[in-house]
Symmetry: C2
Subunit: 433 residues, 2 copies
């Protein structure tokens, strides 16, 4: 892949998400060669994917070109590549653009949707872990309404206007809230000849509370907010199957729906090649020690969602969120530099800064370590934190502008079917030109 062999040790980082960026940033201008690989040429700000999916933001405003992030750094190489296999014995990886040796390997591949082995669900539901996937959801929502207009079959129309979101974590909650706001503010205006009351937004959660991991108060309040917005919240209900037509559950209710969004689970985006004992099989995450080194590997580290570091406080590893990823990346960079200088590494201790979720206009929940609050102020805090965390001045400015516009005008203007989504069931669009 045309990367020069120098006398400096080579650190290869797989993945330019929060964790990968943090470690790469921390290794700048050291006596190291840093190679960053990603299957996209941009960093994705995942927390705002749901706004791309619901026509509130343009994709380009939550993506940041990885090359730009590092284009003033010496000894830094970016390559657009997929990694197929890790050869721990030979310190080598196999990728879509050839093999590469490393002195240190940092796996920061993040997470992917977990369908728990159900092939039907994998085939027929929509996922929302990347920008193209979010754009598919955006297209599909709008295509549904265009189609609902055309059918004279009421059952069919109901099905097209019935949205099922599986999973009551932040993704599910935020998406359900945004869809409900589209139902309230935009769709009745855009589709005056359609009975928008037929539109249903269902949020299905298998356990008895939403936003697991947040406080009871946040969970309760989020549910109240959703219900107020008109979302049908189904708790203690488990989705068993979906054939593109009907969502089968373990309860009395089945759902006839043309669109199901699967936000019920993630797993590590692990790569083939490491020994079985390196991986927590169920979660597809790498077992790492307190320095994020993959157990029983030679020189492989894993950080962020794909790493599972368990200790007393986090028996199943840290939450798969941005904060642990960033903190692990930052510490690993420091530790690698220490290790090169022959100094002892520092073990990772997660500094939980809290978590938050937004449900809609003026409606958010925030859990800080010492203060939990909900409502308008929480919503402004949520916006400020997300705006501040976005990479790049232009992205911040464009997102800010969109938010101000949406707030004043009660609008989401990027409701565009740029690339139609080709459904895998009987409906299909073919205008991809």
């Amino acid at each position: 892949m045309n990367i020069p062999q120098t006398s400096f040790p080579r650190v290869v980082i797989i993945g330019g998400g929060f964790a990968g960026l943090a470690v790469a940033r921390g290794l700048e201008n050291q006596d190291l060669q840093v190679v960053l690989l990603d299957k996209h040429n941009y960093h994705t700000f995942q927390p705002l994917l749901y706004q791309v999916a619901t026509g509130g933001l343009e994709p380009d405003s939550i993506a940041f070109p990885l090359r730009k992030r590092f284009n003033d750094i010496d000894n830094f190489y970016f390559r657009l590549a997929k990694v197929f296999r890790i050869n721990d014995e030979d310190n080598e990886i196999e990728t879509s653009i050839g093999n590469l040796t490393y002195d240190y390997l940092v796996i920061a591949t993040g997470s992917t949707t977990n369908f728990f082995g159900n092939k039907n669900i994998e085939r027929f539901t929509m996922e929302m872990k990347s920008i193209p996937q979010s754009l598919n959801i955006r297209s599909l929502i709008l295509e549904n309404f265009e189609e609902a207009l055309l059918t004279s079959d009421l059952e069919e129309r109901k099905k097209l206007m019935n949205f099922v979101i599986v999973g009551g974590g932040p993704t599910g909650v935020e998406l359900a809230g945004a869809l409900a706001e589209m139902k309230k503010g935009i769709l009745p205006k855009d589709y005056p000849d359609l009975d928008i009351r037929l539109m249903k937004v269902n949020l299905i959660q298998s356990s008895n509370c939403l936003l697991k991991g947040m406080s009871d108060k946040a969970s309760k309040k989020a549910e109240d907010f959703l219900i107020k917005l008109g979302v049908d919240v189904w708790k203690n209900l488990r989705v068993l199957d979906y054939n593109g037509d009907v969502v089968e559950t373990n309860g009395e209710d089945d759902f006839k729906a043309a669109t199901v969004i699967w936000a019920a689970g993630v797993k590590g985006e692990s790569i083939n090649g490491l020994k079985p004992e390196c991986v927590v099989e169920r979660a597809a995450r790498y077992k790492v020690d307190e320095f994020n080194k993959v157990v029983s590997s030679k020189a492989v580290y894993a950080i962020g969602d794909v790493a599972c570091m368990n200790n007393e406080k986090y028996p199943y590893g840290h939450p798969m969120m941005a904060q642990p990823a960033i903190q692990q990346g930052q510490l690993l960079a420091k530790n690698l530099i220490k290790s090169l200088k022959g100094k002892a590494m520092k073990p990772f201790v997660y500094n939980d800064k809290g978590s938050m979720a937004t449900i809609g206009r003026n409606k958010a929940v925030v859990d800080l370590p010492k203060w939990k609050f909900q409502g308008v102020f929480a919503w402004f805090v949520w916006m400020f934190v997300h705006l501040f965390s976005l990479i790049g001045f232009r992205n911040k400015a464009v997102v800010f502008l969109n938010w101000v516009y949406s707030y004043i005008r009660f609008d989401r203007e990027t409701r565009l079917i740029i690339r139609p989504y080709k459904r895998k069931n009987k409906y299909s669009f073919e205008n991809d030109k």
Copy 2:
């Protein structure tokens, strides 16, 4: 297609471009039913497509949702549909979503790329008439550079970094200028390990001047600007063929290039069904009288690029640009209302407000009827006019913000491969997830 039959006459408009929007706007709140059909659910601001293609703007900022444009208008119906055939005898059209009768039909389908029957050129070159096509070009430019990094074959690398733009009209000139600016400002920073001097931007024009239809001074100055930016301008050179590898010309120079953008011609996007005598075959445009009525049709009108109204001043019809389209649309709306009231229609007279093209930062050419100027002031005029013509406050604001940012930072930040372009030749990417 579920459109109610009322006692009002039905006007069906095909196409939501400049012409279609103008006529639909002019028919608002009349005793008419208006049905607008388009294969996209948005209006495309075509003059800025080249900025989407070169990473300067996000696609969402030059697209405007058609439903939003009309969502406060009674008796207005939008349908996402492709029209396959016109049945003039029965006042009926056949579409992808069923048949529809009309009292008046307005064809405003615009234009499409003209490959002049060359199947190779159609298969292997890129076109830039729609947003998805522009995004394909954006992806391809960036993919080329990613690939050029990987090859150790110098010839191959040169080919990947060689861009050929065929056609010296506004599209070709503006795209060549933008690519040359990428070469100057962005690519050397993003690809420090690549010899950017290998990158060539070739603009090929079959006649002896660029920007045909503009003044000699504008044409000459545009060429100067391009040369100053490092574009290789080839005049009096005709492209004969392209096999995905080599551009064959009628001159001594053939071009080995992985990317050829075809901006050498457009033709009307005409629809099957009307009598042969209604169509100017070579240009695929409808012959219309001075009221934009398609000759020897019953109740079919054509406006904009797809209409060919020839008179002494415009023996081959009006230029295929936004201004004639908008003016014809506005007049046709008035004329249809007049006709319904039994009044006489007014013939169309084109008010030529002038034309302009931008080549790069501080470099544009403007021909007004009484004043022709070039350079910095022309560039500001160009920007102001385009910003002003964009539909929607949000789009204007986002574009303005991008331009200010680019101007201050010498940057184009949306250099993102959101959906990789799958080449039809040997190179191919497969990360479409």
